[in-house]
């Protein structure tokens, strides 16, 4: 698609790459302000308790301590930490500090002191008397009558059924599944379980807050949502939005964990209390259990098919836990239905979900946003159905999958916590993804040749998945551009580059539209004082939504440039073209003016700043499509599963920067592999984390990665800038089901619980082959 494009579609270097690899002070924690204090949060040692008495006298008296805050010292404003567009669909069930704690790690108090050592000592000096309450740790117990009510406070709102610990409930149906099952020849129903994965960003959550010379509260923070954070902090601290300035510097990975106002409020409160700059940075241990994680789910998936392979009805029933607070509770779980079921064109679909509170670490947004759980269930069940029908899994999917021109009606019922909008499929590279990925893994050859030496069995498996590109009718963004004397442009966007390369992609879109090289676009992003609004980096929205705003703003500016050139070249606008950093005529008499000459003329002769801005949103969320093929080797004596080759083919629409797009795929599958095989935050019987360190919680490192093949199948999406959709989330969904299916192909056992641990593989093998 990029044949005649100079910038879009080119593998250009990340605009912020050099400063990152040379270690320039680019991240939140890279500054040190004079007089800066260190903040620490006292985490609850109990999963569920009421604070009967809290005495901060000794802590306050410790030399070097500047503030100790408890619930007595701060405003009580129910809110959600989820960084979502207003009005947030998540329950308002969280307080800056409260007299009740609801999970091990919940905030009890906060301290600001001269050094970390003093702050830690002060935490130990805070005397707390708890009334320990019975804790609800098991997801299946949460709704039972007689168990403790986690949110018994009267002032929280938007909780579905607090008496039964139900944060949210979803029920949507199209057609009539019962009728569908009656009309089916075969019905399959299975239960699946998924684990609590943590984002493990290289940079943990960190925020630095201070009062500027005008006494405005400035918060430099590691966030994906600077604008939401500003709005939330203003509400929680009860100060006007205009008195808050949020700065998002370079971010060391968010993966959804930073779509959350997590430290900004408390850091801001400490800065206001001390009138000194305050920094709070999570330790790795704190990041594991005090930040967010992926919602664990128990999924029941039921599908009815005709003998000819037509899927007639599909039904997914989910019990999920959001942990102690309802951040992203209904929206993540909504996706488990709305983005998963419509992949296959069943006439009847039903999705039901209870999202329950438990006294466990809080779940939140996480790359994939509910889809990894749903696709694990659906794609392993579909594999089983194909097997049962004697069909090749690829062909079975091909028969049933969504295609160009389809309208997904389930999305219309399941929006961001409310009614959504129907989803029209205007671009679809799924068939080509299947063809190319199957060829890359040698599907036909390997499906017929499973095996290997005695205890090492090989197999191949696959999964198909999709996602969205922005939240239809909700996500919106804006961009502003102005021209400089040298013919360069300043691009200001509220979009939040979290390391995924948004700044580069957005600058490429601007440069392409304006006909200038990438170095002529200087981008500033994610600063609420300087850049216009953007919802932030989530829902795979930045390229399509923020990029859409940039495209519009750049088109407006391009029109101003052409108007100016028309005067200078004495040629009609429709005979002018931008390119190669100049404006030229497209008629015979080839005349041209460089962007630099044009800018000088505009500024000093015409006394005009060439500038403009635009806002953008979509009423539809075009899905990127993805297929994942895995070749595995199962050690039948140890139960270890080694992935030998992982092939991912993605349809992202147009890849604005193919090299970056591939990088996003590779990063996503690294997390997807961990989710499939090793990653899980474990709790003990008291709700305390058991493996809150990288020594105990393992992720896929470079040495663990299998051979990767990444294929971009480009399509042209009418709703996206230059045809782009999205890419960063969708590839995380496939590894778990593809691996589970490959294990089945290798050794004939179905694993329905994530992560797939060697012990589970071994147990299943024993059950199947008792002689082993």
């Amino acid at each position: 698609m990029s044949g005649d494009r100079a910038v879009v579609g080119q593998n250009l270097r990340k605009v912020d790459g050099v400063k990152l690899v040379t270690g320039r002070p680019a991240f939140t924690d890279d500054i040190h302000l004079p007089g800066m204090l260190i903040g620490k949060i006292l985490p609850s040692p109990h999963a569920h308790a009421r604070i009967k008495r809290i005495d901060t006298g000794k802590a306050r008296a410790l030399p070097g301590v500047h503030a100790v805050l408890t619930y007595k010292d701060v405003p009580r404003v129910p809110h959600t930490t989820a960084g979502q567009a207003w009005p947030e669909p998540s329950p308002y069930d969280t307080y800056l500090l409260d007299n009740k704690v609801r999970f091990v790690g919940d905030r009890v108090a906060a301290v600001a002191a001269e050094t970390r050592a003093i702050a830690e000592k002060a935490l130990r000096l805070i005397e707390v008397e708890y009334e320990v309450l019975p804790a609800v740790l098991e997801i299946e117990q949460a709704m039972a009558s007689g168990v403790a009510v986690i949110h018994d406070e009267p002032d929280s709102t938007k909780i579905f059924d607090r008496e039964h610990n139900i944060a949210g409930y979803i029920l949507r149906e199209i057609g009539n599944v019962e009728e569908g099952f009656r009309a089916s020849d075969l019905i399959f129903e299975r239960e699946f379980r998924t684990g609590r994965q943590q984002h493990c960003p290289l940079e943990p959550h960190v925020a630095i807050a201070w009062l500027d010379a005008d006494q405005r509260l400035v918060i430099r923070t590691s966030t994906q949502v600077p604008y939401h954070a500003r709005r939330q902090v203003a509400m929680i601290l009860q100060i006007p939005v205009s008195r808050v300035h949020v700065i998002k510097p370079r971010i060391g990975g968010g993966f959804g964990g930073k779509q959350e106002m997590l430290l900004e409020d408390i850091t801001g409160a400490l800065a206001l209390a001390t009138k000194r700059p305050v920094k709070i940075e999570f330790t790795r241990e704190e990041e594991f259990y005090m930040a967010r994680s992926r919602h664990p789910q128990i999924l029941r998936m039921k599908m009815g098919v005709k003998r000819d392979g037509t899927i007639v009805a599909s039904q997914l029933t989910v019990l999920a836990t959001t942990g102690a607070y309802g951040s992203h509770s209904t929206t993540v779980q909504g996706n488990t239905g709305s983005k998963v079921l419509p992949l296959y064109r069943a006439e009847h679909m039903r999705f039901e979900c209870h999202v329950v509170y438990t006294n466990t670490p809080v779940a939140g947004a996480f790359r994939g946003y509910g889809c990894p759980q749903g696709f694990f269930a659906q794609e392993t069940l579909v594999d089983e159905i194909a097997e049962e029908l004697g069909r090749d899994p690829v062909e079975f999917r091909r028969q049933n999958m969504i295609r160009l021109g389809d309208i997904d009606k389930l999305s219309a019922q399941l929006g961001e916590g409310k009614e959504g909008l129907p989803r029209h499929i205007r671009s679809c590279g799924l068939p080509e993804c299947l063809d190319r990925a199957a060829a890359a893994v040698d599907w036909d050859g390997k499906r017929n040749a499973a095996g290997g030496p005695a205890h090492l069995k090989r197999g191949v498996g696959m999964a198909a998945t999709m996602q969205g590109s922005g939240i239809a009718g909700v996500d919106w963004a804006s961009a502003f551009l102005k021209m400089n004397e040298d013919g360069s442009f300043f691009l200001q966007v509220g979009a939040a580059d979290v390391g995924a390369g948004a700044d580069t992609v957005l600058a490429q879109i601007a440069a392409e539209t304006l006909g200038v090289s990438l170095d002529k676009v200087v981008i500033t992003s994610g600063d609420t004082d300087i850049t216009p609004f953007d919802v932030g980096a989530y829902a795979s929205s930045t390229t399509i939504i923020s990029g859409g705003a940039v495209r519009k703003a750049a088109e407006k500016v391009r029109a101003h440039v052409l108007d100016m050139a028309a005067k200078m070249l004495d040629a009609p606008v429709d005979k002018l073209e931008c390119g190669d950093n100049q404006v030229y005529t497209i008629c015979e008499c080839r005349k041209a003016v460089s962007m630099a000459e044009l800018a000088m003329h505009a500024m000093y002769k015409e006394k005009t700043q060439i500038m403009d801005g635009a806002s953008h949103f979509n009423t539809d969320s075009p899905p990127p499509f993805c297929v994942t093929f895995a070749e595995v080797e199962v050690d039948t004596e140890t139960g270890k599963v080694r992935v030998l080759h992982l092939v991912t083919a993605v349809d992202p629409g147009t890849a604005i920067n193919p090299m970056q797009a591939e990088g996003q795929v590779e990063g996503a599958v690294a997390q997807g592999l961990g989710y499939a095989l090793i990653e899980e935050l474990l709790l003990d019987g008291q709700g305390r984390p058991r493996n809150a360190s990288f020594l105990d919680y393992k992720i896929f490192s470079a040495k663990d990665m299998p051979r990767l093949t990444t294929i971009l199948v480009e399509t042209d999406e009418p709703l996206g800038p230059f045809g782009a959709k999205s890419i960063s989330e969708v590839p995380i969904n496939g590894p778990a089901p593809a691996i589970a299916n490959a294990i089945y192909h290798a050794v004939g056992i179905r694993l329905r619980k994530l992560p797939i641990r060697p012990e589970d593989v071994l147990r299943e093998l024993r059950e199947k082959l008792p002689t082993l």
Binding site: E637, K698, K703
Partner: protein, 289 residues
């Protein structure tokens, strides 16, 4: 992490190191590569005594025997061409499997042993090699068998002394001698869930004349599987003997359940790894099972 540490010493002689260690009492700690000490960050520690400048970094060979200085790093062992010739390279294999490149550049052999983790990867191969450790106290030096060195998790027979050298007596050699090291971790750079090492020598008829089997992470200390060794020694090596010995080794283990694996899984993996180690040895010694 070490906010309360008041002194970091870098002595240049063993005597000086020991003096500082004694002067610091309970709150002084030896640090070599620091990959265990720093990670644990024991808040009791007030002074650290760095022993990496004591001249204890070396790999020496005399005849068939070897002496390795306590502060020799895993990376130096991993890249030692000479050591690769020792016992089929099992010590090199074990060192290679420790953590990551960065870790192996810091981590020392002495630290791996003195740390007394039951999972220490170099312990099993060294037990199989009948290694001894040389321990320097303020007044005297003594040499003890590695098998007697480990007391319980985190505890050795060292006391307030310095582990200075690891001695490896000349192991059995010849075409019918073979060795194997096996490690099972959750990822490529993980502490062992279970590790195992074996060495054996057979005669021309395939009868086992000498056998050593050691296991890691399955008991309070790295373990010699003596009953399994006894079972194999003096008998003709075949598939069923290997199975029996592996099962015996699993019985000798007393594993625990922790974050990495359950006790039952560990016990089962003892069997699998010992079986694999013996089978690999047998194959290398030219026996067909």
């Amino acid at each position: 992490m070490f906010d309360l540490v008041e002194a970091f010493h870098r002595p240049s002689s063993i005597r000086e190191a020991l003096r500082l260690l004694h002067a610091g009492g309970r709150r002084a700690r030896i640090v070599a590569g620091g990959t265990d000490v720093v990670v644990r960050a024991d808040p009791e520690i007030r002074s650290l005594v760095d022993i990496t400048r004591l001249g204890l970094t070396y790999i020496k060979r005399s005849g068939g025997a070897w002496a390795i200085g306590a502060t020799t790093t895993m990376a130096q062992i991993e890249h030692s061409a000479a050591l690769r010739a020792l016992a089929g390279g099992i010590l090199v294999e074990a060192a290679k499997g420790c953590g990551s490149v960065q870790l192996r550049n810091m981590a020392t052999l002495g630290g791996n042993l003195a740390n007394a983790s039951p999972a220490a990867d170099t312990a099993a191969p060294l037990l199989v090699l009948d290694a001894q450790v040389v321990v320097a106290g303020e007044r005297s030096r003594r040499t003890l068998a590695l098998a007697d060195f480990f007391l319980k998790p985190g505890e050795t027979a060292l006391g307030k002394a310095l582990l200075v050298e690891i001695l490896i007596p000349a192991p059995p050699r010849g075409a019918r001698t073979a060795w194997s090291f096996q490690k099972l971790g959750r990822t490529e750079s993980d502490i062992s869930v279970v590790n195992a090492a074996a060495g054996l020598q057979v005669d021309g008829k395939g009868v086992c004349k000498w056998c050593r089997i050691a296991l890691g992470a399955v008991a309070p200390v790295p373990l010699r599987a003596r009953a399994a060794e006894a079972l194999v020694t003096g008998r003709k090596l075949d598939g069923s003997l290997v199975e029996q010995a592996a099962a015996e080794a699993a019985r000798e283990a007393s594993p625990i359940t922790d974050i990495r694996a359950t006790a039952e899984y560990r016990r089962e993996m003892c069997r699998v790894l010992v079986k694999r180690a013996l089978a690999e040895c047998a194959a290398r010694a030219g026996c067909s099972l």
